[in-house]
């Protein structure tokens, strides 16, 4: 039988659909011309210009700080939530599960608004700290989701075995539970990191003056299109980083070979 070409054609179409705009952006980051409409020869001038923009570097620093803080905190809280959700018995647990899952689909604008109201009514000064808190709230759910999936086929006998071999509850957790769950927790953390890095809507609500993150600054820059190609260069670099992060997280979540 002749192999159908349809799957291959579909795959190609999907890839073109996804990556044509991105490819166009990367191409344009090397365009000597200021305008995307015409190719004016290869140049790295926008990358050079990027290093001169202190505000962009500062915003990138902010974004990295927030993403690191938010992903670390949500790794701890999300793992704790996943453990709490492990028992499937009561109605209370069903409610708990729902409450942890809802932020995954909650409109950002709603979360942004409610967080802003909360921070104001608590008298918190809007800053990098409030942005980090806001990011933790939605990152937590993603980590909980990933760790929960890992827990589903987790062999709790191994934990009992550790206790049987003389380990205290804490030792069993540190020496067995944590190492076994680490890939899941890390993958959840990486997911949280990428979500935090490019969040715009929620950040926009809870950021204070002068605490711009990369997405909010880029959006502001787009309005004055003078430096648009600089953003292309920046986006290309971020694209590279994202690919690397996703590749690592896929490697971590890959199921281990059961037997050979």
């Amino acid at each position: 039988m002749k192999k159908s070409r349809l799957p291959f054609a579909t795959l190609l179409l999907v890839l073109v659909f996804f990556y044509l705009p991105i490819g166009f952006l990367v191409l344009n980051s090397f365009n000597n011309s200021r305008y995307a409409s015409k190719w004016n020869g290869f140049s790295t001038r926008w990358y050079e210009r990027l290093t001169e923009r202190d505000d962009l570097v500062a915003a990138l620093g902010n974004s990295l700080k927030i993403a690191t803080g938010a992903s670390l905190a949500s790794m701890v809280l999300g793992t704790a939530a996943a453990f709490a959700l492990r028992h499937r018995a009561s109605k209370l647990q069903d409610a708990h599960r729902l409450l942890v899952a809802v932020p995954l689909v909650l409109p950002d604008i709603l979360m942004g608004m409610s967080l802003l109201l909360l921070f104001i009514s608590f008298g918190l000064k809007l800053s990098l700290f409030t942005i980090t808190l806001a990011h933790i709230t939605f990152c937590l759910s993603y980590v909980a989701l990933v760790v929960q999936a890992r827990l589903q086929d987790f062999d709790f006998n191994a934990v009992e075995a550790a206790r049987d071999l003389g380990a205290t509850k804490l030792q069993a957790f540190v020496k067995v539970t944590l190492p076994l769950l680490a890939p899941g927790i890390l993958a959840g953390g990486l997911l949280a990191f990428t979500l935090s890095i490019d969040d715009y809507v929620i950040t926009y609500f809870v950021k204070g003056p002068g605490s711009d993150t990369l997405p909010t600054l880029v959006y502001a820059m787009i309005k004055k299109s003078k430096d648009l190609p600089v953003i292309n260069a920046l986006s290309s670099i971020m694209l590279l980083v994202t690919f690397a992060v996703v590749a690592v997280s896929q490697r971590l979540t890959r199921p281990t070979p059961s037997s050979i």
């Binding site: 191994a158 206790r163 071999l165 003389g166």
Partner: protein
């Protein structure tokens, strides 16, 4: 004999279900003691309470004279071999075995020596650096045994350790396990639902049913002299006959009337008086099948019947013989070249013969236990 591990009036309930009901067991130092019973009989719960994963609702557990009931698993000088192996997948074979000694903070050279000793014992030195995922099922189980034994526990608890392996491997590991037991001399408590495993490895067996102990004894005693219909039917195959005692022949033997059989002679395994209703367990291999009427003697029973089913097993043949309202199972070993024998065929009239000594009077009979003889084996 002083008992080493003792279950004293131990009861464990889960909601309204009583998993273990007022159990008393005394286990001697150095013996291999099996807890044998169908799933749900409470044997694993009993083992988990010995390990410390579960606490009894009533009663206590004593180890070497000391009450260990309130101790958590990590404070008990016992170790467990789990049915699912429960190896640490992120650690190598060597590090799996070294887990206990490291937690106990042995000196480094003692850890190395202890682990090497265990690797020799289980013959896996060449695989010490591998992760559990790279091992076969049998190897994993051997690592699980070594990981428990390296700690020199006072008692080794084995929870259906061979259940996940295929038949040939199971038989081989059983022999290995027996050899390991002889070498280390540690008390083994072996939980299984497989009577063959229990019979071949145990010094003594406790047969459990519905949370209670039906009988405790050496394998041969359990097989030949079952106290209850449950034990008789769970361990091997048997025929149950019930009748009424009509006369005492002498202190050892009585005459008994079985419906549809007429009169048979029974051994007084328990005190009986004329008029008593008795239940007799007759193992299939104790019944001799012949086509000619045997010459009768005082203590021999012989009854005629018709062959209804024949199953050939190679080493032996199993016959189901209809005798009035009874359908009896008899087994014949082929000790001679079988094709020369004139063996009974379907529809033949045959005689079943047994000596009065060869049946056993049950102390306790429950009609429901007959179901164990007809239901197919759960895991076959």
């Amino acid at each position: 004999m002083a008992s080493y591990l003792r279950f004293e009036n131990v009861t464990r309930r889960f909601g309204s279900f009583t998993a273990v009901d007022d159990v008393n067991i005394d286990i001697q130092q150095g013996e291999t003691f099996s807890l044998l019973g169908p799933s749900g009989c409470g044997k694993t719960t009993l083992l988990r309470m010995a390990a410390g994963f579960d606490k009894p609702d009533a009663g206590r557990i004593l180890l070497d004279g000391k009450d260990i009931t309130p101790l958590p698993p990590d404070k008990r000088p016992v170790n467990t071999v789990f049915q699912s192996y429960a190896l640490f997948p992120h650690l190598s074979v060597r590090d799996n075995i070294a887990f206990g000694p490291k937690i106990a903070k042995w000196p480094q050279d003692a850890i190395t020596r202890g682990v090497d000793e265990m690797l020799d014992l289980i013959d896996l030195k060449a695989h010490a650096g591998k992760k559990p995922a790279q091992l076969s099922g049998g190897m994993k189980q051997r690592v699980a045994i070594a990981r428990a034994l390296v700690n020199k526990p006072k008692v080794l608890l084995l929870d259906e350790p061979l259940a996940a392996l295929d038949l040939k491997l199971r038989q081989r590991l059983l022999v290995e396990l027996d050899a390991i037991h002889d070498e280390v001399g540690i008390t083994f408590i072996y939980v299984t639902h497989d009577q063959g495993e229990a019979m071949s490895i145990s010094d003594r067996i406790a047969v459990m049913n519905k949370g209670t102990i039906e009988q405790v004894g050496p394998p041969a005693e359990i097989y030949e002299a079952p106290r209850s219909s449950f034990v008789a039917a769970f361990i091997g195959d048997t025929n149950f006959l019930d009748g009424r005692v009509t006369e005492a022949i002498d202190p050892r033997f009585s005459r008994c009337e079985v419906n549809g059989f007429g009169s048979i002679v029974i051994d007084n395994d328990k005190p009986v008086t004329p008029g008593d209703r008795v239940h007799l367990s007759l193992r299939p291999e104790k019944l001799l099948v012949s086509r000619e009427q045997p010459s009768s003697s005082d203590l021999e029973n012989a009854i005629a019947g018709k062959v209804e089913d024949v199953i050939y097993f190679g080493s032996h043949t199993r016959y189901w013989v209809r005798c009035g309202e009874w359908r009896l199972c008899a087994e014949m070993q082929h000790r001679k070249y079988q094709l020369d024998e004139q063996s009974p065929k379907w529809g033949d009239t045959v005689w079943l013969r047994w000596h009065a000594n060869d049946g056993f009077l049950l102390e306790q009979y429950r009609a429901e236990d007959e179901g164990l003889l007809t239901l197919p084996d759960e895991d076959s």
